[in-house]
Amino acid sequence: MLSSKVFSELLSSKGFNFYTGVPCSLLSGLIRIIDDDPETPYFPAVREDAAVGLCAGAYLAGKLPVLLMQNSGLGYCLNAFTSLNLIYKIPVLVVMSWRGEDGSDAPEHIIMGEINQKLLQTSSMEYSVLSSDNYEASLNTALQKIKEGLPYTLLVGKGHFNEGH
């Protein structure tokens, strides 16, 4: 298991300095640590596409933003990713929890859990599946893509971060 604390410190050390999102229980520990630390300002968003917009504005104004969300919000974001981020070259790091990864989650998560990678691929949204072995390398890849002006997603399955509730 990857410590939420270690990961949030790694994000800060890489220069990420603006956080928003819509919560997921799998990310609860990470969100709590970020929200509790005045050095990592966290702005709750009402829906995932509004969080994409917020991150875009923050980036335009010189910040390096992170969007924390559940994969159930991916559909809301597709228009924003395709008609804003990808064509304007406005990057964002998306930390997206992967509910329904193994098909044994609650019914509402099964279909999105099965298709979220295909949706990202179809939308030309680059991503990595995060694990405790590859998280630093994945974050470095993400930073490289962000420098190129591309959004990048880290998909995080159940049990990778310690939860905070």
């Binding site: 702005f43 917009g53 104004a61 910040k63 008609s83």
Partner: protein
């Protein structure tokens, strides 16, 4: 007042503000009256001009930020009014050109003929809200709101008037990003 007249009143009042434009005829009217490097023309992602503007305003508290939004955009992302009110950026003015229609797609009606958007903004917690219905009120309302701490909301009721021959924004999206970022940070390459 016609929508175009509202733009003709607002645009000359802008100085060094960062201005985020909603998609549709709002981008096109503003671009064709006066193009500015500090204009962000959001040509897609309907509903997100408000959240983009909020992101700019809270990231750069020293930078006056204006959102020029439309009623359809505000109705689509009404929740963002709550985000703006909660974040409470003093440097943000949210202007809504309200023609009660989706004019650039054929003037289908929206819901703002029966939903008072300025009251929604006020209830959400914007510090200042104002509604104007005539051209000669715009300058005073704009200057009054710019002189006070925001977040502020200025609803401008207009009649549909968009001329379809008005050209589209001629910069590419990537150019819009580059010039807008440069205008916010002119010393950086």
């Amino acid at each position: 007042m016609k929508g175009t007249e509202a733009f003709e009143e607002i645009i000359p009042l802008l100085t060094d503000e960062a201005v985020i434009h909603a998609n549709g005829y709002i981008c096109r009217e503003s671009f064709n009256i006066k193009d500015r490097e500090g204009n962000f023309y959001m040509i897609g992602s309907m509903g997100l001009a408000s959240s983009i503007g909020l992101g700019v305003a809270i990231s750069r508290p020293d930078q006056k930020t204006v959102i020029i939004d439309g009623d359809g955009n505000v109705l689509m992302s009404m929740g963002t009014l709550a985000m703006i009110a909660a974040a409470a950026p003093k440097n943000l003015l949210h202007i809504v050109i309200d023609n009660e229609a989706y004019e650039s797609t054929g003037s289908q009606r929206s819901l703002s003929n029966s939903v008072a958007l300025e009251k929604v903004a006020q209830s959400a917690g914007y510090l200042q809200t104002k509604k104007v219905t005539s051209k000669d009120q715009i300058k005073y309302a704009f200057q009054e709101l710019m002189g006070k701490d925001g977040p502020s909301f200025l609803l401008i009721k207009v009649e549909p008037s968009f001329d379809k021959s008005t050209g589209r924004v001629r910069h590419t999206p990537e150019e819009i990003t580059t010039r807008f970022m440069k205008s916010l940070n002119p010393t950086k390459d």
